[in-house]
């Protein structure tokens, strides 16, 4: 039994020394306890010095959304027929060599005028599942929980709190470009969105 070896020694003064020097006066602080504390302090310092780069390494992916995004061309703006919605795919601008197919990103482009577009992320605003476009009924339907959106991206029915996410776009040199690179999510609009006023194209802070 382990008790046998420990118990007779317990009443001795050793635990007191170990507990600290304050009560018994400085005379009892032996050299070896001093050195132990010095060793602990050294390890604490080095540990702290190591922790800083380690934590920074760990937190490296947590960057501003804008630093992940860049403008990507989706092809000539005129290749999108007026009044129709088309599925396009592009390579994500932020990549690693071993990303494989995960860099293929899809989006829906709706041309509303000569230079008016709406570019929707395929991710449902509820939980991110890929919505499908049905041109016959002019609806986007989500396969997960049945969220439905109208052609303009506004919420039609189902659990989503808001309309589809949109990408910022511009037309440069006849090419339709979008500001992409980030998986669209509610991260910047965790606050509740009023569903009675569906996506207002101008004020959504959480663009893809």
């Amino acid at each position: 039994m382990s008790d046998q070896s420990d118990s007779p020694r317990k009443p001795s003064t050793e635990p007191d020394i170990a507990a600290g020097s304050d009560r018994k006066g400085p005379a009892i602080v032996s050299r070896r306890w001093m050195l132990l504390k010095a060793g602990m302090a050294l390890n604490g310092l080095v540990g702290l010095a190591l922790a800083v780069p380690i934590v920074r390494y760990l937190l490296a992916p947590a960057r501003k959304d804008s630093s992940y995004k860049s403008w990507i061309s989706l092809g000539p703006a005129d290749s999108f027929p007026m009044g129709e919605t088309r599925l396009v795919s592009f390579r994500n601008p932020w990549t690693r060599p071993w990303d494989g197919e995960t860099d293929n990103v899809a989006a829906y482009v709706r041309r509303e005028g000569t230079s008016q577009f709406k570019v929707f992320a395929i991710n449902c605003a509820h939980l991110g599942c890929p919505v499908r476009w049905f041109p016959q009924s002019q609806l986007f339907m989500c396969p997960c929980h049945g969220g439905v959106y109208y052609a303009d991206g506004s919420r039609a029915s189902g659990p989503p709190e808001r309309g589809l996410f949109t990408y910022d776009y511009k037309i440069a040199g006849g090419l339709l470009q979008i500001d992409a690179g980030q998986m669209p999510s509610l991260s910047n609009t965790a606050k509740l969105v009023n569903i009675s006023s569906p996506t207002n194209d101008g004020d959504c802070p959480c663009r893809g």
């Binding site: 760990l58 937190l59 992916p61 947590a62 960057r63 959304d65 992940y68 995004k69 599925l87 994500n92 932020w94 990549t95 690693r96 060599p97 071993w98 990303d99 494989g100 197919e101 995960t102 860099d103 293929n104 990103v105 899809a106 395929i122 991710n123 509820h126 939980l127 991110g128 599942c129 890929p130 919505v131 499908r132 049905f134 016959q136 009924s137 002019q138 609806l139 339907m141 989500c142 396969p143 997960c144 929980h145 049945g146 439905v148 109208y150 039609a156 029915s157 189902g158 659990p159 989503p160 709190e161 980030q182 998986m183 999510s185 509610l186 991260s187 910047n188 965790a190 606050k191 509740l192």
Partner: protein, 497 residues
């Protein structure tokens, strides 16, 4: 065999483990704890060992790279001899482990085993449960297919709802802005190094406390736990009416663990491995993602939440659940252990079990998901269109072509998101149908912009025919009264022939 004995002694002299092992093996446990109810903890441990062994074997082939993982799983399934079986054992072992851990927890709760002095054992157990679920989730991601991709996407959307820190948390979870190469490698590190390491450490702590504090005695109504007296009472019980843990209680553990392993092997052989499904290419939208079994209930709950509840619920519910579990031994650390005298505990457990089962069942049936191919694939029963006018037939075509069928079933086929329409004419008058189609409402989109007035007329005239032969269609009583009194109601004359 003197030679064997000499070898044993040589090792024992250096290792000196005989004492502690004998103490652990032969320590006395109360006689009635040698019960089939006390076998789940050891079964969970056995399954953990199985998962570690099969996990290492799979790691011999699996490539934790977003570009190669899916291919390597297919090669495991189809080219590596018995690779499919190892994958199947690992997948089924995971299902069984989650189930057994939950059953173990339910049993411990029902038997009051979390009460003094075993509060910390319960606390550690709660973290073991969380880690088991963490292993199940990270494992689902390593099966890098479409379900894994979009399942993780759901995780991202849940995490993104955390106020303020949501965006940063998503980046940290994914190792970047999207689910891609660095996502898989960090889930691999979590699944293979981080969580198993913590699991093994906490299992050691958990088992250590079970050995030191003794197995919970069989609860007897009226035998109350008091902090002042419990330990003396327990020691007396174990001493006077106790049997050595081995073999008295241990044989049941052994047999149950063996049976569970056999069940895993049989399920693996019969049902095979899970996936991989389609390749993890997010530009493929023809997919119906669904999470693995342990998380199906969350998938169902998220479908039923009203939009205004989503964020508060998603952010607060997990915290509340874990806090509730952790609080159990500190709220009810003393008193009755027997379920005969703990009605609230029994009711709470039953309620949780029934809710879980119901939500899981609902998630498996997914009545809220549109059937994406119903409009083009499902046929209409012939008798619905027999002797139909051209207008009715055109309405039937519009019903299909405008994807109404994706949410509304007819003749037992089609989506179930909306009500089935086989007898819709008995519930709604044509005017009500017209109004509903144009304006939508509830869970139905408004079709006013997407259907021309002639199309709406055709559609409604088709819906009007949908009623059983012996049941007349619904009618507007006030309109009929107005018509019979000679004053034509507005709008009634335009349509009727």
């Amino acid at each position: 065999m003197p030679r064997l004995k000499r070898i044993y002694d040589w090792f024992e002299q250096r290792l000196q483990v005989e004492g502690p092992v004998k103490e652990a093996v032969l320590h006395k446990v109360p006689r009635n704890t040698a019960s089939w109810w006390y076998v789940f903890g050891s079964a969970a441990f056995t399954l953990l060992m199985l998962q570690i062994v099969t996990g290492i074997l799979l790691a011999l082939v699996y490539v934790p790279s977003a570009a190669e993982a899916w291919n390597s799983l297919n090669i495991l399934n189809h080219q590596v001899p018995l690779g499919w079986f190892l994958r199947a054992i690992h997948a089924w072992g995971s299902n069984f482990m989650v189930a057994v851990v939950f059953i173990h927890m339910a049993q411990v709760f029902l038997f009051g085993a979390y009460k003094f002095p075993r509060e910390l054992t319960w606390t550690v157990g709660v973290f073991l449960l969380l880690m088991t679920l963490g292993m199940a989730f990270t494992g689902q991601v390593l099966r890098f297919d479409q379900d894994a991709y979009w399942g993780l996407g759901i995780g991202v959307f849940i995490l993104s709802r955390v106020p303020w820190a949501g965006g940063a948390l998503v980046h940290l979870l994914l190792g970047g802005p999207t689910i891609a190469g660095e996502t898989l490698t960090r889930f691999f590190a979590l699944h293979v190094f981080v969580i198993p390491g913590m699991l093994l450490f906490l299992v050691a702590v958990h088992v250590w406390m079970v050995l030191k504090l003794g197995i919970n005695e069989w609860p007897m109504p009226g035998r109350l736990v008091r902090k002042e007296t419990y330990i003396a009472e327990y020691n007396k019980l174990a001493h006077e009416d106790g049997i050595p843990f081995v073999p008295g209680a241990f044989w049941k553990d052994l047999i149950f663990s063996g049976a569970v392993l056999a069940a895993v092997a049989i399920c693996a052989a019969v049902f095979g491995p899970s996936g991989p499904g389609g390749q993890p290419d997010p530009s493929i939208t023809q997919t119906v993602p669904k999470p693995d079994f342990p998380f199906l209930w969350i998938y169902a709950v998220l479908s039923y939440l009203p939009p205004s509840m989503e964020t508060p619920f998603i952010v607060l519910a997990p915290i509340a659940m874990v806090a509730g579990l952790l609080a159990v031994p500190f709220v009810a650390g003393e008193g009755e252990k027997s379920w005969h005298r703990r009605p609230i505990a029994v009711l709470a457990l039953s309620m949780v079990a029934v809710s879980w089962a119901v939500f899981t069942h609902l998630a498996m049936l997914t009545p809220w998901s549109p059937h994406m191919n119903a409009w083009s694939g499902d046929t209409l029963p012939v008798e619905y269109l027999r002797e139909a006018t051209p207008l009715v037939r055109q309405g039937a075509v519009i019903f299909q072509a405008k994807q109404c069928r994706n949410c509304h079933s007819i003749g037992g086929h089609g989506g179930e998101r909306g009500p089935t329409l086989d007898a819709v004419a008995t519930r709604m008058t044509p005017d009500q149908m017209r109004y509903k189609v144009v304006t939508g409402g509830g869970n139905m989109p408004a079709y006013g912009k997407n259907l021309s007035p002639p199309e709406i007329e055709a559609l409604v005239s088709f819906l009007e025919t949908l009623h059983p032969k012996n049941e007349p269609p619904a009618f507007d009583a006030s309109q009929q009264a107005a018509e019979s009194s000679g004053a034509p109601a507005a709008g009634s004359g335009s349509r009727t022939p």
